[in-house]
Amino acid sequence: MNVLMFYLFSGIILIFSLLSITTRRILRAAVYLLFVLVATSGLYFMLKYQFMAAVQLTLYAGGIVVLIIFSILLTHHITHRFKHPNLTKLLMGIGATTVGIGLVITTILSHSFKAGTAPELPVDMTVIGNQLLSTGKNGYILPFELISILLLAAMIAAIVIAKKENNKNSEI
């Protein structure tokens, strides 16, 4: 059952990520990306990281895809189709991809991973909250604070970049 679900999710991920970069309609590309992200959160559920899967569903599948779809609707006509990419670029992309996949997969298969034997830590919200905000061993407060500063900066930057220019006459 587990094995079947894993191959189902990986099939969805591979097929829809390939479709999402080859389709000629941009809105369909965004919907295929949504399928990829939902299947990824299914993989996280299989690995028993429920919190990570919930974050993936709400933030990626719920937030970023909706943002992308909004910006598509603002900038494209709905019946717009892409031109085919020119041949040299297509060949370059496929060449780089096949060489990279071959290289990385041979490296992965030639390395033997030693599975951890320690008992599994139950991942509930108490453990996550304690570790995220603790300063001692297994504490992650420094990256947490860095991320919060980065999010604040990104929020201010997005507002400043996207706001309309004021007319010079309307000032004062």
Partner: protein, 105 residues
């Protein structure tokens, strides 16, 4: 740990997904689709983090926390990138990469 699925299968799936993202970044000429290719790349890296955490160090949570941080960075990056894209569209009426080659207003 999951019975019956070796670690390498997860890594192969995420590798193929990563390079599909790279391929999309190379062959697409539209800013929004290039952003979507970047999301694919970040997502495959997240799978790697979580799987290594579960299979190799099941008593710790580094992989989970760092993939959480990667998700946060991806959200920040997407919001800034979309603000830039909308601003470019407002000035040039076009978001194909070939046509956006001047940096002045």
């Amino acid at each position: 740990m999951i019975q019956g699925i070796p670690l390498e299968h997860f890594l192969i799936v995420s590798t193929i997904m990563f390079f599909i993202g790279v391929c999309g970044f190379i062959i697409r000429r539209n800013l929004i689709t290039m952003l979507m290719a970047i999301e694919l790349i970040l997502n495959s890296v997240n799978i790697n983090f979580v799987v290594f955490n579960r299979y190799l160090y099941p008593d710790q949570l580094q992989g989970q926390f760092f993939s959480l941080f990667v998700v946060g960075i991806a959200a920040a990056e997407a919001s800034v990138a979309i603000a830039l894209i909308i601003n470019i569209y407002r000035n040039m009426k076009n978001i194909e990469v070939e046509n956006v080659n001047e940096m002045k207003y």
